[in-house]
């Protein structure tokens, strides 16, 4: 009793050991902390891709000619397409409706004649517009293939191809335009939200539900110690999850890591603190695992998924939704993650986003500390 600091340290140590023992014994905590990240990474790494390849296209050549053949050969040789020939438009349309093909390219019977006339020969292209995003990518690919064919066609016949402007494209940072390269780093933010907010909210609510908190607050333990006792174990768990995810991203999914690991770890710490703080605040408000779980999923996990810029572009959202995204911590961290992985240590991105995270972390901790009850009421 003569060494209050020593006692404080002893209490905190006791709480942390307790938490780790509980994590080890509870399969659902372990599941959320380790199995879920691996599961999500594998699912996203392998299952989710926005890169269309081998798109089945129907080609209808109404009149076979060497020109038409060379045109369809351009599609046959492209790695983007798998071309299927149809005898007439009707059959092709049926195939489109039955989802056997994603687009139809039709050269009418007068294609050859028009090709050598003054008018441009129209090539009819129909894409299945149900999936608008894919449709747009496919029509882009078709355009590119057509363009190449045109240049080749002109060169073979010695025709000067009048093209007033030519586009010269350079895609920076992810020049291979692999969707995995931005999905996997973004997923790290989602996984850390899961460990930080959901797990913390659940375990804290469990203490309320099982009545263990009642016994806990009747001991000399202070509120700060209880909060730290939750924070430190789940911080370590969350950083473990982050390192695991980074390792999987780099070694398994071959995502380039151009920036430094230190920047990731430091900003990851900030983000983890925000997630933990939110988890604590939720559980203090809910005091019940079921409700805490629901709230955590709705206000942390889903927004991290949808409104963080992880998949969907924030700038394209309606202004009202855009302003909501400023309240979502994952937004800042996703920006940092995608940048550090693909563009390197760009301080102009890292610093403002890290500051936003720091501010949010402080806010949630202050809130948790204020709202954490010292008594049962």
């Amino acid at each position: 009793m003569n060494h209050p600091n020593k006692e404080k340290y002893m209490r905190l140590q006791g709480l942390i050991i307790k938490e780790f023992l509980q994590i080890r014994r509870d399969p659902s905590s372990l599941g959320i902390a380790f199995a879920m990240p691996v599961f999500l990474l594998l699912l996203f790494g392998y299952g989710v891709s926005l890169d269309a390849k081998h798109v089945p296209v129907g080609i209808v050549l109404e009149k076979i000619s060497p020109e038409a053949r060379s045109f369809s050969a351009a599609f046959e040789h492209s790695e983007y397409f798998v071309s299927i020939h149809f005898a007439n438009m009707k059959l092709a349309q049926q195939a489109l409706e039955a989802r056997k093909i994603s687009a139809i390219i039709r050269l009418r019977s007068n294609f050859n004649r028009q090709l050598y006339s003054h008018e441009s020969a129209p090539i009819q292209v129909i894409v299945d517009g149900v999936d608008a995003n894919t449709a747009r990518l496919i029509s882009g690919y078709i355009q590119g293939t057509w363009n190449q064919w045109l240049i080749q066609f002109a060169a073979q016949r010695g025709i000067s191809l009048t093209q007033p402007i030519m586009l010269e494209q350079r895609i920076w940072y992810n020049s291979a335009v692999r969707s995995r390269n931005f999905l996997v780093p973004g997923l790290i933010a989602v996984i850390m939200t899961l460990i930080g907010a959901l797990l913390t909210a659940l375990v804290m609510a469990r203490e309320w539900e099982r009545g263990t908190l009642e016994a806990l607050i009747a001991t000399p333990v202070s509120v700060t110690e209880i909060l730290l006792g939750k924070l430190i174990p789940y911080y370590l768990l969350g950083m473990g999850g982050m390192l695991l995810s980074i390792a999987m991203a780099v070694f398994l999914f071959q995502v380039p890591l151009l920036g430094s690991l230190w920047v990731l770890l430091i900003t990851g710490t900030l983000f983890m603190l925000v997630a933990l703080g939110m988890g604590l605040v939720i559980s203090i408000a809910a005091k019940n695992q079921f409700v805490a779980g629901q709230i955590a999923i709705i206000i942390t996990f889903l927004p991290a998924f949808i409104m963080s810029g992880f998949i969907f572009d924030i700038d394209s959202m309606p202004p009202a939704i855009q302003s909501i995204t400023y309240l979502i911590a994952a937004r800042y961290f996703v920006a940092i993650l995608q940048t550090v992985f693909l563009a390197g240590n760009v301080w102009g991105i890292i610093i403002p986003n890290a500051l936003a995270l720091l501010f949010m972390a402080l806010f949630f901790f202050a809130l948790a500390l204020r709202r954490m009850p010292r008594r049962l009421e």
Binding site: L50, D131, N181, T325
Partner: protein, 370 residues
């Protein structure tokens, strides 16, 4: 038998609807998700910030810039005056794209010896966004080309593409995403309702109380399945209504093929929910089980990313996912107006999955009764 099942149903509905928490689960998250997904989940680009670096001060280059600014896709937020400004603008995500018009642009254009070059620099961190922006830029340029060729009586290229999108002429992502939400939310609500129902009774001890009554396992199973079915159908009807009235997605087809799909889908999903239910002892386990099923089911359904882009093995895996078929039905009926006969290939797998799942759930139920 039916009067007992009726009593079970009344009890089940009262228990679900009188409790503030479970009422909230049925109403709160779905509405929230509907709006978040409906508005935030879009691949369409809108008012994307771009920078213009124009080294050529001719009317032609100004025309071109006006074309970029004239589309709703792009919004010029930055005018660059020297080369060193490009990198920071892209690095710091101030702009997604830089349109660079070189100083020889108008000269090349007027001489028409070789094409004038316009350089487009893109932030590829989100490769999907980059590719779509590039597609839009391409369209802007080819429009300009055709216009220029016509104005200056230049010969037109020998062939041109006439691209038309069926079923969704303006390629609006929302038309694709919102019908998908019907499937997504119906899945979530139905699974949660059924997966937690037995666990909740186990925790409260009322399950034992049920088991000592003359109710048979089959009756209890039916008593648990029907509320899921009713709630699933109501939930999807509500979202369909919102999709049509609020999000203005056209409903081209008729309701008959749609509702056959909804009932078969909910039927298949209830089986999964009840399987989770008979295995879970606590509500937390039930929730975790539901989560473990829902996440892959959504990701591997074609909801947000096309199944065709997945590796072949994963594509085969999606065949056992009822949501895969339901999404095709939803989008098919909404946008394409498919009929019952055209959707038979989607109906029977769901029916099969449903029968297998419910059979399994019934078997597990009997075994896990004690």
């Amino acid at each position: 038998m039916w009067s007992r099942i009726y009593a079970l149903l009344i009890k089940e509905f009262l228990n679900l609807l009188k409790d503030k928490k479970s009422r909230f689960v049925l109403i709160g998250p779905p509405i929230f998700q509907l709006f978040v997904f409906g508005y935030a989940a879009t691949y369409d680009l809108n008012q994307v910030p771009i920078a213009i670096y124009n080294e050529d001060t001719s009317i032609a280059s100004r025309d071109l810039i006006a074309k970029f600014n004239g589309t709703p896709t792009f919004k010029e937020v930055l005018r660059i005056s020297y080369h060193e400004q490009i990198a920071p603008a892209l690095d710091n995500k101030d702009v997604l794209m830089v349109v660079h018009i070189g100083q020889h642009f108008s000269r090349d254009l007027l001489l028409a010896q070789h094409p004038a070059k316009v350089q487009i620099l893109l932030d590829g961190r989100n490769s999907n966004t980059a590719q779509i922006a590039l597609g839009y830029a391409q369209t802007v340029l080819s429009d300009f080309n055709i216009q220029w060729a016509k104005q200056h009586k230049l010969s037109l290229p020998p062939a041109k593409l006439e691209v038309r999108a069926w079923f969704n002429p303006n390629l609006e992502s929302r038309w694709f995403i919102v019908p998908g939400i019907v499937g997504l939310l119906t899945l979530v609500v139905t699974v949660i309702v059924t997966a937690l129902s037995v666990a909740r009774e186990r925790e409260q001890g009322t399950f034992d109380q049920l088991l000592v009554t003359p109710l048979s396992p089959l009756e209890i199973l039916i008593g648990k399945a029907i509320p899921g079915l009713v709630i699933g159908v109501i939930e999807s009807s509500f979202i369909i209504l919102m999709a049509v009235l609020w999000f203005k997605v056209p409903l081209v087809g008729s309701l008959v093929p749609l509702y056959i799909g909804i009932i078969l889908f909910v039927f298949a999903v209830i089986g999964i929910g009840l399987m989770i239910s008979s295995l879970a002892v606590t509500q937390q386990q039930g929730l975790l089980g539901a989560f473990l099923f829902i996440v892959p089911a959504v990701i591997l359904s074609g909801y947000a990313t096309p199944i065709a882009n997945m590796p072949p093995l994963v594509q085969d895996l999606t065949l056992i996912n009822p949501l895969r078929y339901f999404l095709i039905i939803l989008r098919g009926v909404f946008l394409e107006g498919l009929s019952v006969s055209q959707l038979l290939d989607q109906y029977w797998p769901m029916l099969l999955i449903g029968i297998l799942n419910l059979g399994m759930a019934g078997w597990l139920f009997r075994r896990r009764m004690y």
